[in-house]
């Protein structure tokens, strides 16, 4: 990740130019900046993308969502309400 000063888009394949353009358009409208990504294909994201813009990461990848839900489930499993209430859970 040597070119972090310019906006970078890591995206899980398959993707096309139209999808990239729509993502750039979305960020340009949201941030009121002219965003033009350097695109890097990253299959380890599973799906979705990670955008690096001006020192901020926008992570909408499948990999992170799975990690988040894993953490959430592990936290829930430590004190599952069902276990508290029903012994036969």
């Amino acid at each position: 990740m040597s070119t972090l000063r310019t906006p970078v888009l890591e995206i899980a394949p398959p993707y096309d130019d139209d999808l990239i353009r729509r993502i750039e358009q979305g960020f340009s409208n949201k941030l009121r900046l002219d965003v033009c990504f350097e695109v890097i294909a990253n299959p380890s994201l599973l799906c979705g993308f990670v955008a690096y813009i001006n020192g901020i990461v926008y992570d909408a990848s499948g990999r992170t969502r799975l990690a988040d839900i894993k953490e959430y489930l592990l936290d829930s499993a430590l004190v599952p309400p069902a276990v508290k209430e029903e012994d036969d859970f």
Binding site: M1, S2, L4, Y52, G55, I56, V57, Y58, D59, A60, T64, R65, D68, I69, Y72, L73, S76, L78, V79, P80, A82, D88, F89
Partner: protein, 508 residues
Amino acid sequence: MTIRKDISREKLSDFLREKVGAFEFKTSVYYYGTVQSTKDDVVWINGLAGCHYGEILQFENNVYGLALDLSENCIGAVLLTAESDVVAGSLVRGTGKVAEVCTGDTILGRVIDPFGRPLDGKPLSAINTRALEQRAPSIIDRAPVKRPLETGILAIDSMIPIGRGQRELIIGNRQTGKTTIALAAIRNQTPDDVICIYCAIGQKLATTARIIHELTESGHMENTIVVASSASDRSAMQYLTPFAGCAIAESFMHAGRDVLIVYDDLSRHAIAYRTMSLLLGRPAGREAYPGDIFYLHSRLLERSAQLSPDLGGGSMTALPIVETVGGDISAYIPTNIISITDGQIYLSSELFFAGMRPAINLGLSVSRIGSSAQHDAIKWIGGRLRLALSQYRELAVFSQFGTNIDAATSQQIHRGERMQEVLKQTQDETYLVSEEAVLLLALAHGVFFGMELSEISQARKELLKYIHAAHPGSLHAIESTGDLTKEEMDTLKKAMDAFLEEYSHGGE
């Protein structure tokens, strides 16, 4: 983590479906930076705008660090984990959180690290957390320290009393019994009364394991929490350990409970902080410690307090331990902590090797709270005992020169030797308040003055056994009121005379 085999597939599916259904997917948005350089646990980071002092930073492969140096161009952080894959160019994420530890009754009896992760191999289900760094209670939040915290050690409870909310330093060379005194104080607390927290800072794992074993064996682990970092842990972990213990203690204190916290020891803590500061390139001061080393310990120890009744009346009593080198209490860290605390118990190597256990040097030990936090039953004799012992120790030094001494001085030395003998305790031996009152009364009544020195240890045990059997009511009255009435005193004195007669006949 334990796996439950009795869970049916359907119920597990329902549980997962319910949880996954309730989970809200959100795009993660966070600041990031890149590692500029890394060396000796310290990482310099570019970027990461909006990073706070003390913020936990997440590196790649779930390595964590602590932001401690915020300069204009870069951020200095120390790594918290030993296995480090951090290399120049790797990404760093700001978590937006400062270091926190889990709190609450569920961690009683547990051994945890400064982040609340269990070290005893059992699952931990704590829900509440508390930030490690907190403001100390203000003046208006505090109440005077008036309630005693008994250690069960006669010399301390009678002459250097510790009150609930006090900070009493235990200081001495290595192998003089500092930890033993702190553990005796923990063992002397009843579970429903005082919660104990033992912070092992940079200790050998074997030492910590031995302490946990001792507490478990004596049944006192139930109301104790051990917060531990080992000698092989990163400096940052050692630095955070006492703050984690303090945060846990505070949560109990604010819930109206009384807490005793032992920091074992702050010399190692200072060394860990010095290591971090030097690696971060901060200017070195006296003994190469950074300029804010005093503030480091004062902000930790100021958090001990007796809260006002409006805030629940809870208390946090701190027993910080400091190790001296060559008995030098005028070194930088000892003088700093002596000036912060409300008194110190100085343990002397000379007394220790002379067989005096606990090896408390009464001349250099003091409790600034004084007798206001002492039971009335002990107060009136304790002051006189301290004076008599101080006089004896001065005279004993002169008598070593072989000078001719008069009969009165000789008698004072004779009595002083016996007083000192009565104050000896083994490390497993702690006294109830009533037993301490009886022993002090026996000293004042001269019960031990006619005995040989070698007899006193046994006679002391016999006397307590005799009083327990003959006058349990008197002991119970002292325990419940903390006072010794004139009538009780007369009764006990008579009982002591009877004991002395019986003991001397038995001796023949």
